[in-house]
Subunit: 204 residues, 2 copies
């Protein structure tokens, strides 16, 4: 009887909205909605408010695309970081992942997506113009391409390589190979093949 509308258009609307989140189906969305319905009103308002504030008040660095609360980029504004190395990534999430490794001390350039004709995303939809501006300014010695190995990622990398090659900078890409802790047996053939082709001197 309530299969469609749960007897309440308010619940239905909340479930619709929650199921628009990535990885959240209607069943999970209903569970989340009922959870929120069981919370005190202040908590739900605080929950919703934090999401509105996130979208409304967050600032993006005009140079690299990184986020901050007050407009001061935590990466570009950090004098201890090397301004001559720029790591190009698809999204903010990749920046957070790389920062978590603690292995990188240069700057970033967030593209805001990758070239994907099937999704109607072309070079003009990405922050490539901004990357050109940074390269034209002439302070960059190396650009690291840290894009995914999907067809879209490879296409984007190739497009960027053609663009960047017009400037006197070194273009590198992050190393591909067998992950630490991975069994060779369970590594796909492409990765294993590349990791043999790209073998390095053993340093005991």
């Amino acid at each position: 009887m309530f299969r469609r509308n749960y007897s309440s258009s308010l619940l239905e609307e909340a479930v619709d909205q929650l199921s628009s989140l990535p990885g959240v189906g209607r069943r999970t969305a209903l569970r989340l909605a009922l959870h929120l319905l069981g919370q005190p009103r202040e908590n739900v308002e605080q929950f919703a408010g934090s999401l509105v504030r996130l979208k409304r008040d967050i600032r993006h660095c005009p140079v690299c695309g990184m986020i901050s609360d007050d407009g001061t980029c935590p990466v570009c504004g950090d004098a201890r970081r090397d301004p001559s190395v720029v790591c190009v990534v698809e999204s903010l999430r990749d920046v957070l992942s790389i920062e978590n490794t603690g292995q990188y001390n240069g700057r970033y350039h967030i593209l805001g997506g990758i070239i994907s004709p099937i999704d109607g995303i072309g070079p003009g939809d990405l922050r490539i113009h901004e990357l050109n501006d940074r390269l034209a300014a002439g302070d960059i010695a190396e650009v690291i391409l840290a894009l995914s190995t999907s067809m879209e990622g490879e296409t984007t990398a190739y497009y960027l390589y053609k663009q960047i090659s017009r400037y006197p900078v070194k273009v590198t890409a992050i190393a591909r190979g067998v992950g630490f802790g991975d069994d060779l047996e369970y590594t796909d053939e492409l990765t294993l093949g590349r990791s043999i082709a790209n073998r390095q001197l053993f340093k005991p």
Copy 2:
């Protein structure tokens, strides 16, 4: 570097709030927050607004606890449903599940939880007083206990049975047994044992 604070207290607060949802860890919460950050501002406001309205505007039936938009209970207010049978459940979610079967035509009583001393939930925290009122009114012939088979569920069922037995009503419980499509091999011993003990005449 951003392992803790993601360079933005706004993002951190949103992740904190999202990870308070059931089944959502911090990694998923970050993914959800970044997804919302990538949406147009109107969409995020609509998303957040639907959750605030859900909590603020929804009405609960004072008799059975069911939700509605306008205060008219879709179950108690439905003259085609049998008012003499009441199915007692833990939560609204259980009502929605039973309604989805299309097999029940009586009314409900939502307890709003189950007796769980470890969580500090006693009989006084549940809508048991309201159930007593309904039984005292004298129009009920059968109470169906549809509670979970956990220790808390069994405790609650026993407590309710003692309460309900003071009135001249039949007390039943939903059937337990091997689910349709389940392999006997993978059914737990308790369920399989009970389903043999409670065997029924075969109707071909």
